[in-house]
């Protein structure tokens, strides 16, 4: 790739460090990953040399592919790359004086059948406007939106939680933590936290909520069905929102979702838009979908007799089908899972789906 010759050494080092960190799983939250990816892409756009939008998109795609290959289970990297590509396309269209692609329905059936000849090339260089500055400015706006996404979700908290409710949550999602703490300022309610063995993130959340004077109860994963008859709403976070509206959430979420469905308890998912991915669940045995960690969380290696003869799977994620989810609360508002496909077409360009 001739374009990569223009990338300076420093940027390559930073990118390799990021890939290393991704591989080791050193990041604490999906937000950190998304934010770092965006910063790296911004630096790439600013410091590399390109003469047309097409070349810029090729550079971004190449960089993005390297970062995505480091840890395929972290969809946030891919999501950010696709958002940047869509941004570049929009800015190009705007500079050329055409209406934005959002206004022209690229996916309408009429367009599909009749306008095949007008495939956009993106290769004509833009002379009258400093395209690089335009793109960087759009990226900066996007970064600000990303930073405020958790706060935007938290401001919707009062619309969804009323007084004297019992809310169930699982594991530790920073988005849900902010959401509940914001609601706790004006309303009095109780929270039940599922501890989520073997990582016990639920303990951290429970302590944090109790310190904010929210009545909290910690329960074990086995008590979810038993306690569900007492619960008014289930509010969980997720790692990724899949393209069909399903979730890739923490281990145990499917059980919680099924128990909620059985007791007719609404399941609300708080997730920012950067978690929306173009992936689908490809096969039921979750081979490509799930990530596994060392079984020493479940069974110590010191007990040799057991460890020698027993197969101990320790999956990290759980797939929750979209019919079990009642509502998605994101930084752009509340949506039903059936609407997720539309959000996808607004955020990502169809040509970028398979990078």
């Amino acid at each position: 790739m001739p374009a990569t010759d223009f990338l300076n050494q420093d940027l390559i080092e930073q990118r390799d460090k990021f890939c290393m960190k991704l591989k080791k799983g050193d990041f604490n939250s999906t937000y950190d990953i998304a934010s770092t990816t965006l910063h790296l892409l911004r630096r790439t756009i600013a410091s590399s040399r390109w003469s047309s939008a097409r070349e810029l998109m090729e550079i971004v795609t190449a960089e993005g592919k390297k970062m995505m290959a480091a840890q395929p289970s972290e969809t946030a990297v891919g999501n950010m790359v696709r958002r940047v590509l869509k941004l570049i396309r929009e800015e190009y269209a705007r500079c050329k004086g055409q209406p934005e692609e959002g206004e022209v329905q690229t996916e309408s059936l009429h367009k599909l059948f009749f306008d095949k000849a007008q495939a956009e090339d993106y290769s004509t260089p833009i002379v009258n406007v400093d395209f690089k500055a335009v793109v960087i400015e759009a990226l900066n706006e996007f970064l600000v939106e990303l930073e405020n996404s958790a706060d935007n979700i938290a401001t919707q908290a009062l619309e969804h939680i009323h007084s004297n409710e019992v809310i169930l949550t699982a594991g530790r999602s920073r988005t849900v933590e902010k959401f509940l703490k914001q609601a706790a300022r004006k309303r009095k309610f109780e929270v039940i936290v599922v501890e989520c063995a073997p990582f016990y993130h639920g303990h951290v959340l429970a302590k944090s909520l109790a310190e904010a004077n929210v009545g909290t109860t910690v329960i074990t994963d086995s008590a979810v069905f038993a306690i569900m008859s007492r619960v008014n709403k289930v509010i969980i976070g997720t790692h990724t929102v899949m393209a069909n509206g399903g979730l890739k959430a923490i281990n145990g979420s499917h059980t919680i979702a099924l128990a909620a469905k059985h007791h007719s308890v609404p399941l609300i998912v708080c997730a920012s838009m950067f978690k929306l991915s173009t992936e689908y669940l490809r096969s039921n045995d979750q081979a490509a979908f799930n990530k596994f960690v060392s079984p020493h969380f479940v069974q110590d290696f010191s007990d040799g007799q057991v460890v020698d003869k027993v197969h101990i799977p320790c999956p990290v994620f759980d797939y929750v089908p979209p019919d079990l989810v009642t509502l998605f609360i994101s930084n752009i508002g509340g949506n039903a899972p059936s609407y997720v496909y539309r959000l996808l077409s607004e955020l990502y360009h169809p040509d970028d789906r398979d990078l």
Binding site: E195, Y200, T255, V306, D318
Partner: protein
């Protein structure tokens, strides 16, 4: 085949089946804080049965591979609800969602005349400290200092009869809802 937590009855069932040269694989599901499944796992391994071991929140991952679920019971209530170790109802729920048959193994002396529909009206609370001590990282070690924080350690839960396919007893294989019939017959015999 999958079984939940520890029950000497189920261990005996599986070991007997293994001795009769039936080929099967057992998945032992365990839950905090008691982790009783480990003891059962040890016994099964000693006997030579091929086993896997899971915590209860990973069951959703493994359930597509399972052909049957075996549960033990502490009591069978007169309205057909199975009172068992906390977590059994979840396993039965998942099994029903994936169309896996659920078999409860229960002796008839465990049948009782009480009725109950949820796990709260009558239950046992275990030591809340158990929730803290078993974790590798002790986030909650000073939980008593925080007045807003409670730890709940439920011991039993009730499984609705529509999740259970069949109950296996020493008088035969019966559906959950036949409990009052068996009780009546037993009363007639003893009186």
């Amino acid at each position: 085949m999958q079984r939940y937590s520890s029950s000497s009855l189920i261990t005996k069932v599986l070991c007997d089946a293994y001795d009769k040269n039936k080929k099967f694989r057992v998945i032992v599901v365990d839950a905090r804080p008691k982790l009783e499944g480990k003891e059962m796992l040890r016994r099964l391994i000693k006997h030579g049965v091929t086993c896997s071991y899971l915590l209860i929140n990973a069951v959703s991952y493994i359930i597509p591979e399972v052909s049957k679920v075996l549960l033990g019971a502490h009591a069978l209530l007169a309205n057909g609800y199975v009172m068992s170790r906390c977590g059994s109802s979840q396993i039965a729920l998942l099994a029903k969602a994936y169309n896996v048959p659920v078999l409860v193994c229960c002796e008839t002396y465990k049948f009782c005349e009480r009725v109950q529909t949820d796990a709260f009206v009558c239950n046992e609370l275990g030591d809340p400290g158990d929730l803290v001590t078993n974790s590798k990282t002790e986030h909650l070690s000073n939980w008593r200092d925080l007045s807003s924080l409670n730890l709940l350690n439920l011991v039993y839960d009730v499984t609705p009869p529509d999740f259970v396919n069949v109950v296996i007893t020493e008088v035969g294989t019966i559906p959950c809802t036949s409990v009052p019939v068996v009780l009546r017959v037993k009363n007639v015999e003893t009186s």
